[in-house]
């Protein structure tokens, strides 16, 4: 048993190190190695090393503000595809926190655009007793020039906590960074630290298509037979190659048995190649899987 645990730990460590290395290399050398990184990494695989938070899945590298380090880890990915990617806190008695989170857009209420999502945040916060909106939602750019990325920011404060939420869209996820400080100046200092963020997008990322696996594109489907019945759908995300073969499966939240069963069969699914302007492209999509009587359905 101990030996198994040990091997598991080594495997996990190797995954984290590989992801971190991929992200660092991507940050240093640009996009060339990212196709490998984005295919193998999971959204939750990021971590802090030498004062830099890196996440290979999102191609994100963030040199932390001085004095910041990792706080308590967040929960596992949720049933609705929500991830707490990093909880960064001021160390040694300092103030301020930075929460990096991601919401899989395949499992969320659809938003027309980032502006609408930011507006929803603003309205939700404004309804809380004692909360004031300091800065109406506005488009900003985050990241190192010239490779900045459009984002939306909304600031709010209440009971002596000054917060800002910055949102951008990456890899079919709504990536959010929530800054919390004890005064407006400190909040601004944290916001400025986002100028050092490196967001390295793949040159040809998979096309995000909601509900893709439930349509006519699916030409071959195998149902898992050994996963446990579940009333709550199991969220999974797949990348379909330009040849229609499933290249990557990520079961977001499930038991180990469910995860293995789903991974095994989804890799056998085949799709019609998706084309844009006559060129076959990769597709990334989500599936909500329900089990029961061996039947698996996409409910998206």
């Amino acid at each position: 048993m101990r030996r198994l645990l040990h091997l598991g730990a080594v495997a996990s460590l190797a995954t984290v190190l590989a992801s971190a290395l991929a992200a660092v290399l991507a940050w240093r050398y640009g996009e060339t190695i990212l196709p490998f990184a984005v295919t193998s990494a999971m959204p939750q695989d990021g971590g802090v090393a030498d004062g830099v938070y890196t996440n290979a899945y999102f191609g994100l590298s963030y040199p932390l503000p001085k004095g910041f380090g990792e706080g308590l880890a967040g929960p596992d990915p949720s049933q609705s595809g929500y991830y707490v990617l990093a909880n960064l806190v001021a160390q040694a008695g300092g103030a301020g926190t930075i929460l990096i989170a991601a919401q899989d857009t395949f499992f969320d209420k659809p938003h027309r655009d980032l502006a609408e999502a930011a507006s929803e945040v603003r309205d939700t916060m404004a309804q809380i007793e004692g909360m004031s909106i300091d800065r109406e939602p506005a488009e900003i750019a985050i990241g190192r020039r010239p490779a900045t990325r459009p984002a939306w920011r909304v600031d709010f404060n209440g009971v002596g906590l000054y917060r800002a939420m910055i949102m951008t869209e990456m890899r079919c996820h709504l990536l959010s960074i929530t800054l919390t400080a004890r005064d407006p100046q400190e909040r601004e200092t944290l916001a400025q630290s986002l100028d050092r963020v490196s967001l390295t997008a793949r040159r040809d990322p998979p096309v995000c298509i909601r509900d893709y696996a439930g349509g006519d594109q699916l030409v071959h489907k195998v149902a898992p037979t050994d996963i446990m019945p579940s009333r709550t759908p199991i969220p999974a995300r797949i990348i379909i190659g330009s040849d229609g073969v499933v290249r990557h499966v990520h079961v977001i939240r499930a038991t180990n048995a469910q995860r293995k069963g789903i991974e095994d069969v989804l890799r056998q699914w085949r799709f019609k190649p998706h084309t844009i302007n006559g060129r076959a492209v990769e597709v990334e999509t989500g599936l909500a899987l329900r089990s029961g009587g061996g039947k698996v359905t996409s409910t998206d």
Binding site: D76, N87, T97, L99, M125, I128, G130, V159, G160, T232
Partner: protein
């Protein structure tokens, strides 16, 4: 079948002890210059235990009949045991009134040796500790267990001659780190919770999803495995209905088999003294009483009806504060001081000058505490209001109520994890504990590990918890604002 008699002398003695203890709780004087201090259990009127307002005379009579059965003490001839945790519903659910949570004096200590029983008191059961049930995380072969292992046996009791069975070896299981605990959940207002449609709960959970997203919170419901609807009762929202909740507790906690759980958990024939099957069935003839319809109901139906018709706890702002205020009160202001466990709103024009402390609780600090509670994110899960749907009891229909819970389960991290899966809730997930009535609760968290509200809040943070950001926000507040939160909570 359990006899429907009023509580025994033993039960009355226990209640007397509880009442005495309730009024003599030690003063929780604040430490000046340090962090905030839990004002302690709120004194004054219980503000709980009565039927919900608006019942008809017939419904009220039914409630009273059900309340009597809830208070009954069972002996072995009634079906108690052979393995059990206590001998009445009321024994566990009595703080601050019938239907509540664990009392200050643990009745399990007395019942361990009642009528000649020879039970060894497990180390985690103490006179001043919480009423507890024990679950084992794993079976001896390492597979998941998670079930309740009753603390006591009827062996040695004068009403169980010839029965010889042993208690589980709790000391050994404790040494294996294999025992986790649960304390009784309060049952006030649960008819409203039961009457809330799934759609209303789902809408409530989704309504503040943007706030949750900024706090690292997700949450999900524990769905019933049979019909797929939302289960909502119990520490992990594992029970679908009040009837199921009652039937399971009657069998698991008291050892009385019933229509929902008809099988004895202990098969030793020498320990079976009640030969009806189940021991507490639905009567085919009325047992009489002031409520003719109640006379036809099984015990578990009456337990469920009692909980269903219990009013929600009344927060301090609406209770009769004057009666509990200090005798040195004057009539010049609007401040009441929290001391020896009283956080009370002032009656108009009343000021208590009995004590001065940093836990001074005014209506202003309670209001501030409510605001802080919402601002830092506590209310993202401890959702203030819910609304019931249509119910066959008019008083429960379409009522907006304030349970301070979303009734969803959340990952609470390593520190609170108990390793027990129930339904879709895993070993780290717990239902958002409703906070209504928390002002008069003595023990907190699922296992009753603390009596201190501040410590209960702190325990929400650990590796993997959805509450980490909220607790970070809370810890960043001034002492006054953290104190206001505690005062607000003790006002509920």
């Amino acid at each position: 079948m359990a006899k429907r008699t009023f509580a025994s002398a033993c039960s009355l003695a226990s209640m007397s002890a509880i009442l005495v203890a309730s009024v003599s709780l030690p003063s929780l004087a604040p430490a000046q210059g340090r962090g905030p201090t839990d004002p302690g259990v709120r004194g004054g009127a219980a503000g709980a235990g009565d039927p919900i307002t608006g019942l008809s005379a017939t419904e009220r009579a039914f409630f009273e009949a059900a309340k009597d059965v809830f208070a009954e003490t069972d002996g072995v001839p009634d079906g108690l045991g052979p393995r059990f945790n206590l001998d009445s519903c009321l024994g566990c659910h009595s703080q601050p009134a019938s239907g509540g949570s664990a009392p200050a004096v643990n009745p399990q200590v007395a019942v361990a040796t009642l009528l000649g029983a020879r039970n060894t008191l497990p180390s985690f059961i103490t006179a001043n500790g919480p009423v507890r049930e024990a679950r084992f995380v794993r079976n001896p072969d390492g597979s998941p267990d998670g079930g309740v292992h009753a603390l006591f046996v009827i062996t040695g009791r004068s009403d169980a001659p010839g029965c010889s069975i042993a208690q589980p070896n709790f000391a050994a299981e404790l040494s294996r780190n294999n025992v986790v605990f649960r304390i009784p959940t309060p049952t006030f207002g649960l008819g409203l919770v039961e009457s809330t449609p799934d759609s209303a709960l789902e809408a409530s959970l989704a309504a503040n999803s943007q706030q949750k997203r900024a706090l690292g919170i997700s949450g999900r419901f524990n769905h019933n495995g049979n019909d797929g609807t939302i289960a909502r009762f119990g520490w992990k929202a594992q029970n679908k209905s009040l009837l199921l909740f009652s039937g399971e507790a009657y069998n698991v906690e008291i050892g009385v088999t019933n229509d929902l759980f008809p099988s004895e958990r202990e098969g030793n024939a020498a320990c079976q003294f009640n030969h009806t099957h189940p021991e507490s069935p639905t009567p085919l003839e009325s047992e009489g009483g002031a409520s003719p319809s109640a006379g036809f109901q099984s015990d578990i139906a009456l337990f469920a009806a009692f909980m269903r018709l219990l009013a929600p706890p009344t927060p301090a702002s609406a209770t009769a504060a004057v009666a509990a205020a200090s005798p040195s009160s004057t009539t010049t202001g609007s401040t009441v001081v929290a001391s020896a466990g009283s956080v009370l709103p002032a009656a108009a024009g009343t000021t208590s000058t009995a004590t001065t402390s940093s836990t001074t609780s005014t209506s202003a600090t309670v209001d501030r505490g409510r605001q802080v509670f919402a601002n830092v994110g506590c209310a993202a899960c401890h959702t203030r209001t819910q609304r019931s749907g249509g119910a066959n009891v008019a008083a429960l229909s379409n009522v907006t109520f304030e349970p301070y819970s979303d009734f969803a389960v959340h990952d609470m991290g390593d520190r609170l994890a108990d390793g027990v899966s129930q339904g879709e809730a895993n070993g780290r997930e717990f239902r958002t504990a409703p906070l209504w009535g928390v002002g008069q609760r003595i023990f907190f968290l699922h296992d009753g590990r603390t009596k201190d509200l501040g410590e209960a809040i702190a325990q929400h943070a650990s590796r993997g918890s959805e509450a980490n950001q909220v607790i970070q926000n809370y810890n960043a507040l001034s002492v006054d604002d953290r104190q206001a939160v505690l005062n607000f909570l003790r006002s509920l």
